[in-house]
């Protein structure tokens, strides 16, 4: 066991830090600037990713021949840490970089890699993930959106829902049914679909936070060339599963840094908030709760380091990613609740209230955290996965 970084890892960090010092935007406040529309905000993030790409820092974990740097998992962690340390904005094409690009690298034809990968890195084309449907969420394999062969094309009909970035996306990794007669896992195919194709309709879907980060997407007789099948026809379940594994393993990757920063901010506020005539930070109950959150954020970081070390030896994320997914999502809910308790009545104030701390960030985070145990596979599904695939218990369904 050696948690020190190697000379090579340190060198990587230094180079990146130097690059960020010169290139990270100075006007980024950590969230969408007031008065900017969602589209303007997104254009800003896209411009930032383009700069990162030009600097050679986008998709660093991808193999060199695919435009990456072949970075190790540990270098990826360093990357997230340094981005956070530099208070750099997030990259616009998150799903493309973390989930869909790697899936294309694993299953795509040479022509597909040539066509899509660079544009994912440069944020020239934004991607979304069209998996969930109104009647197929946890039971994803029961999805109904169908693709019927028609000459050398497929004709797609159906509906997707909860599609994050649907409104911004140029392309979509779409899971469809190509063989309705086969058992449910066997009749699926993944298509790479141009969101501008005739027959694709994206409708806003407002979330409980008030924003519309995700969408409903309707497909009516959308024509997709067979060249856009990712992997083999009717092998879509395996392709999609690869994406989901990446989702569980990577979605939480840099989060401990995000939580950690938010925690520092909360501690700072706790010193100035009055609780029974003294600063909240001196209240024994508050101290207990804050210390518990600190400990859990730290453990989340350490779990992450352990799993990264394991992946760096075994090569691929495994079902234990489910432990991470449960940990970060449930921790965030506990954290946001503690923040509400510590901040008192001011915590409920939303964006736009002149009395709110941090422009309503805490009320927003409290609500946003509620989605954490649902997105990327619910906590129940993650526990099923651990029960069956890690502990070897019989399947419940």
């Amino acid at each position: 066991m050696d948690l020190n970084y190697t000379a090579a890892e340190q060198k990587f960090r230094d180079e990146l830090r130097a690059w960020l010092a010169d290139h990270a935007p100075q006007d980024w406040t950590g969230r969408k600037a007031p008065g900017r529309s969602m589209e303007e905000h997104f254009a800003y993030l896209r411009a930032w990713q383009k700069r990162v790409y030009e600097g050679g820092w986008a998709g660093i974990s991808w193999p060199r021949q695919c435009g990456g740097r072949g970075a190790t998992v540990i270098e990826q962690v360093i990357f997230t840490e340094e981005m956070a340390r530099a208070s750099a904005p997030p990259l616009a094409n998150v799903l493309g970089l973390a989930l869909i690009g790697p899936t294309i690298i694993a299953h795509g034809t040479a022509a597909q890699k040539e066509r899509f990968l660079t544009k994912i890195l440069s944020a020239e084309e934004i991607w979304c993930q069209g998996f969930s449907e109104p009647n197929a969420g946890s039971d994803l394999a029961s999805l109904l959106t169908e693709a019927r062969p028609d000459g050398s094309d497929f004709i797609v009909n159906g509906q997707k829902v909860w599609t994050s970035y649907g409104w911004a996306a140029d392309w979509c990794e779409l899971v469809v049914r190509t063989d309705p007669a086969a058992p449910k896992h066997k009749g699926l195919t993944v298509l790479l679909i141009d969101m501008r194709s005739p027959g694709v309709e994206v409708r806003p879907l407002r979330q409980m936070t008030g924003e519309s980060e995700f969408n409903e997407v309707f497909f009516r007789d959308v024509r997709v060339p067979a060249a856009n099948v990712l992997g083999a026809v009717n092998n879509g379940w395996n392709v999609a599963l690869g994406t989901l594994m990446h989702e569980r393993a990577t979605l939480g990757a840099g989060l401990h840094i995000v939580y950690s920063r938010q925690f520092q901010r909360l501690v700072k506020l706790a010193h100035s908030i009055d609780r029974n005539g003294a600063p909240a930070a001196r209240d024994p109950v508050v101290r207990q709760k804050l210390a518990q959150i600190y400990a859990e954020i730290e453990i989340m970081r350490l779990n992450q380091m352990r799993s990264i070390s394991r992946i760096s030896q075994s090569g691929a994320p495994g079902p234990e990613g489910s432990i991470q997914k449960i940990f970060w999502s449930e921790l965030n809910q506990r954290f946001q609740q503690v923040a509400q308790e510590v901040l008192g009545p001011f915590a409920q104030l939303e964006k736009g209230s002149e009395f709110a701390f941090d422009d309503g960030q805490w009320a927003y985070s409290y609500l946003r955290a509620r989605g954490n145990t649902i997105e990327a596979g619910t906590s129940e599904i993650q526990r099923n996965i651990i029960g069956h695939f890690v502990l070897g218990l019989p399947r419940s369904y």
């Binding site: 066991m1 050696d2 948690l3 020190n4 600190y294 730290e298 380091m305 070390s309 432990i323 218990l393």
Partner: protein, 367 residues
């Protein structure tokens, strides 16, 4: 950066995994726990012969000079089998304190005797206030003699060497007493963990040797308590891992409603949570061991993160393991209660979760 065992650490783990269940199976644990001090001479001889008593001591005393990650590896394996008796207090607690003290004749002799398996040792810290910090230490050494009462002294009846934490005037002092010295009387405090016994120790004008005083004593004690706390957290991980295995195995074989109970999600999810608690406790314990070994700036916080988390996790894992077993889990015959009892005693030892959270608060909120 590599957060995993090295090859030699893995070898140590494998040899511990071979040794402990073979030499001290559960039937032996049950037999030994009925002996005063849960001290079995034969088992102790084996522990010494295989080098376990010397693992963290310097080679000059006959030890192996292993590091704290290695200590955590061994402690974890001992926790899996509920190793009974005075090993923990002798090596991981008193041993850590002896290691942290300046070399002198009394200290060196005790360290050597432990390595060679001739003596056992323990630390007497708590008094009536039952505080884990030295703020509760009142007992005075006056003219080289001790009078007063120490409580919750682990394994005292088996320990030849007692390290009593006392005061010399206002200063903290670490003293060494032989338990056969005149004026020492030891009474059992029958308690929840049957595998490790607690004692009240009365001192009446007992002659002692002072090993350290003042800042030197405080520093040595802080270091030793941190090390013992990490060893305990690692030991707790071993216990959690074992009861998770026991519960998962049971869930695969016990049938109700015509199917294994492990097919019911209510049971599966309890098992999944046990795994999450175990793995998270493990990450924290190993990090703390490494941080202490490397004297990392956040080492003390890491110790408290590990202990506060493990304190609640082991108990929670125990709750789930017993629940999965139904009525069988509530019987004396089933081994789970032995772990459940150990979990409670370990939760309390060296400060419970609330104690360590307050320590974290001092380091991260007040800093």
């Amino acid at each position: 950066m590599q957060f995993g065992l090295t090859e030699t650490q893995q070898l140590l783990k494998n040899s511990a995994r071979d040794f402990f269940p073979a030499e001290c199976p559960m039937a032996e644990v049950r037999r030994i726990m009925e002996i005063d001090g849960a001290y079995d001479v034969m088992l102790w001889r084996l522990l010494a012969e295989h080098g376990w008593t010397g693992m963290i001591f310097d080679e000059e005393h006959g030890g192996m000079g292993l590091g704290l990650v290695e200590m955590a590896v061994a402690a974890e394996e001992m926790g899996r089998i509920l190793l009974p008796g005075p090993y923990f207090s002798t090596v991981f607690l008193a041993g850590a304190l002896l290691n942290a003290l300046p070399k002198n004749t009394g200290r060196n002799a005790c360290a050597t005797a432990i390595c060679e398996g001739r003596e056992r040792a323990t630390v007497a810290l708590l008094e009536e206030s039952a505080r884990w910090d030295t703020g509760g230490v009142r007992m005075q050494v006056v003219d080289g003699r001790l009078t007063g009462r120490k409580l919750f002294v682990p394994d005292a009846s088996a320990a030849e060497c007692l390290l009593a934490i006392v005061r010399a005037g206002d200063e903290l002092a670490i003293t060494q007493v032989h338990n056969a010295a005149s004026g020492v009387s030891i009474r059992a405090m029958p308690s929840i963990d049957r595998t490790r016994h607690l004692y009240a120790v009365d001192f009446d004008q007992v002659e002692v040797e002072i090993l350290a005083t003042g800042d030197e004593a405080q520093r040595a004690l802080d270091r030793a308590m941190d090390i013992a706390t990490v060893a305990l957290a690692a030991e707790m991980v071993g216990g959690m891992e074992r009861i998770t295995e026991i519960a998962v195995d049971y869930a695969k074989t016990r049938k109700q409603f015509g199917k294994p109970i492990g097919q019911f999600q209510a049971i599966q999810h309890q098992c999944a949570d046990m795994l999450l608690l175990t793995e998270s406790s493990r990450s924290a314990a190993y990090y703390a061991a490494w941080a202490l070994q490397e004297n990392a700036p956040d080492a003390r916080t890491a110790v408290s993160v590990a202990k506060s988390y493990a304190s609640e996790a082991y108990r929670e894992a125990g709750n789930r393991a017993i629940q999965v077993h139904g009525g069988m889990g509530f019987t004396w015959e089933n081994d789970l209660h032995l772990y459940y009892r150990r979990a409670k005693a370990s939760e309390i030892a060296f400060g419970d979760a609330a104690f360590h959270r307050e320590r974290i608060a001092r380091m991260v909120i007040d800093a």
